[in-house]
């Protein structure tokens, strides 16, 4: 009994210590004085690797998800004679929930693991230490551009997801299943609020992008410098990011729907 309590206490201490370290790490990444002239090209480079390279998976996933939502939605709405509401159902589902959450989950799986593996490998091969020895701060040179690139990419990818998913839904609903095009778009326009739905979705994606990128760079920076350590770190990035996204989604949705 006593050893169980001791183990629980040890777990709590270790967990608190790790949360503290990750908080200090985040503070240093955010507030280390940037050398703007040198940081901007690094940021652009990372936006390309993180954002542009994630486009294909985001767009393909958005297309199929839009198509499936439209298909399922039409199947149910048709029973109540409300298939003209398909546009509204599709747009609200996508902009409020599906776009920010699925974009963040895919972002964690594709870009997050890539960041963790890249930074972890740099740790394992002493590249970060050699940078320190050359009096170059790896936090501003390596970590900070990647963090800001992730934070900027997430909402942009979410907006792209919105557009492609709605287009996918339009293809299935209107072109295939025969829903009236005018009703589809006009009901969507009438029901979707720019601030309540689209902007709230972007705010969610900003929060998710912040958390996912923070977890990814932290796991890479503090990984054990060996193959098993990098493997574990990439797994932790996906698991912790996914759980954080789902938990934060619930909290943010409660606040946004004023049910808090």
């Amino acid at each position: 009994m006593l050893s169980a309590v001791q183990q629980f206490g040890q777990f709590g201490l270790t967990f608190s210590r790790k949360v503290g370290i990750s908080g200090i790490f985040l503070f240093n990444v955010l507030f280390r004085r940037p050398k703007l002239q040198r940081s901007f090209p690094l940021l652009i480079e990372q936006l390309y690797f993180i954002g542009v390279f994630s486009l294909i998976i985001i767009m393909l996933s958005a297309l199929f998800i839009g198509m499936v939502v439209s298909l399922q939605g039409h199947n149910t709405l048709q029973r109540f004679g409300a298939d003209q509401e398909l546009g509204e159902l599709l747009a609200l589902s996508v902009t409020r929930e599906l776009a920010p959450v699925i974009t963040a989950l895919l972002f964690a799986g594709r870009a997050g693991t890539s960041l963790t593996a890249e930074i972890g490998l740099m740790r394992a091969t002493d590249q970060l230490d050699s940078m320190e020895m050359m009096a170059v701060d790896p936090l501003w040179r390596i970590i900070s551009p990647r963090f800001w690139a992730g934070l900027i990419s997430a909402p942009i990818l979410t907006l792209i997801f919105d557009m492609v998913a709605i287009y996918g839904g339009y293809l299935v609903g209107v072109k295939w299943l025969g829903v009236d095009s005018g009703s589809f778009w006009s009901n969507m326009q009438a029901s979707v609020g720019f601030y309540d739905d689209v902007i709230n979705g972007v705010i969610k994606s900003l929060v998710f992008g912040f958390v996912v990128t923070w977890i990814a760079v932290y796991q890479g920076y503090y990984t054990a410098p060996n193959a098993m350590g990098i493997g574990r770190a990439t797994t932790k990035t996906v698991v912790y990011s996914s759980l954080a996204i789902l938990a934060l989604d619930f909290m943010l949705t409660s606040v946004m729907l004023k049910n808090w």
Binding site: D126, Q127, D129, S130, E132, M133, M134, V136, D137
Partner: protein, 279 residues
């Protein structure tokens, strides 16, 4: 015979005094004192896992000691010295421009080619036009015999070539102190000979102070001016290579001559052999 600890700091580049360092509960260094002489090659040797690389990281400020002092005497602070373990990040980075380290793996940036790797510290710290950077980088690569390989990616290099490129990069900012972490490990005899001669030639040609951490006795002893032997957190022997080879103490004798059994036993502690076999 121990090196006299001179009160004049002008012939000392690093002075370590009463150094204590622990990792969790394990004592790595227990009241260790040593001196790195200016413009000389000092070797730190000892059995695997004894903390040689940790000592390099303490000297370079990557780790902080639990107690004791590590004073560095670059040319700008030749008399007063700088306690590297007490510096804030900004001052530590300023001092690190005078100190370079060659890591065991080379630690080249894998997304850059040889030229970009060597020019990296110059681009970060020296506001020079691109053609001047190019000249300096090519001169550094020429010094290590790899000027013709400047276009190769880091992943295309053999182990020996990677170490030499890393050496060129480490010399880019014309440091005063070079730290070599196991430079000969895993190298064939030809590359080992190349690296040995490079370290010696560059040390004397450029007026460097060099610290080599290694357990390759023959190669290191051929170029070192002074050797410290560390084991179990303490210095068990020190002196010139000739003095250490003639040393009679069992611990030093076992390490220097590579004897399989002695102070560091061959057998892991176990029960009596006959008793365990026939019981």
């Amino acid at each position: 015979m121990p090196m006299p600890i001179s009160s004049a700091s002008s012939d000392t580049f690093v002075k370590v005094t009463n150094l204590c360092f622990k990792r969790e509960e394990r004592v790595i260094f227990d009241n260790v004192s040593l001196r790195i002489a200016r413009n000389k090659i000092t070797a730190i040797m000892g059995p695997s896992g004894t903390g040689k690389t940790t000592l390099l990281r303490l000297i370079s400020g990557q780790l902080k000691p639990n107690s004791g002092d590590i004073i560095v005497y670059p040319l700008e602070a030749k008399e007063s010295g700088i306690p590297i373990h007490r510096l804030n990040r900004r001052k530590l980075y300023q001092l690190r421009k005078k100190i370079s380290m060659l890591f065991q793996s080379g630690a080249l940036f894998t997304n850059l080619n040889v030229y970009e790797n060597v020019v990296f510290p110059l681009r970060e710290h020296a506001r020079l036009p691109e053609d001047m950077l190019r000249d300096i980088a090519l001169m550094k690569l020429e010094a290590v015999g790899l000027r013709g390989a400047h276009h190769l990616m880091a992943s295309q290099l053999s182990g020996g070539m990677a170490r030499r490129v890393a050496m060129a990069r480490a010399l880019a900012l014309d440091p005063e102190l070079m730290l070599y972490d196991e430079p000969f490990t895993g190298q064939d005899p030809i590359i080992m000979g190349v690296l040995v001669q490079l370290i010696k030639r560059l040390n004397y040609a450029l007026g460097l102070t060099s610290v080599i951490v290694s357990h390759d006795v023959a190669e290191t002893a051929s170029i070192a001016d002074y050797i410290y032997l560390i084991s179990n957190g303490k210095i068990i022997g020190e002196g010139t290579p000739e003095a250490l080879f003639a040393e009679q103490s069992p611990a030093v004798n076992q390490f220097i001559h590579g004897l399989p059994d002695g102070v560091v036993p061959f057998h892991y502690p176990a029960k009596d052999y006959a008793e365990e076999l026939f019981s």
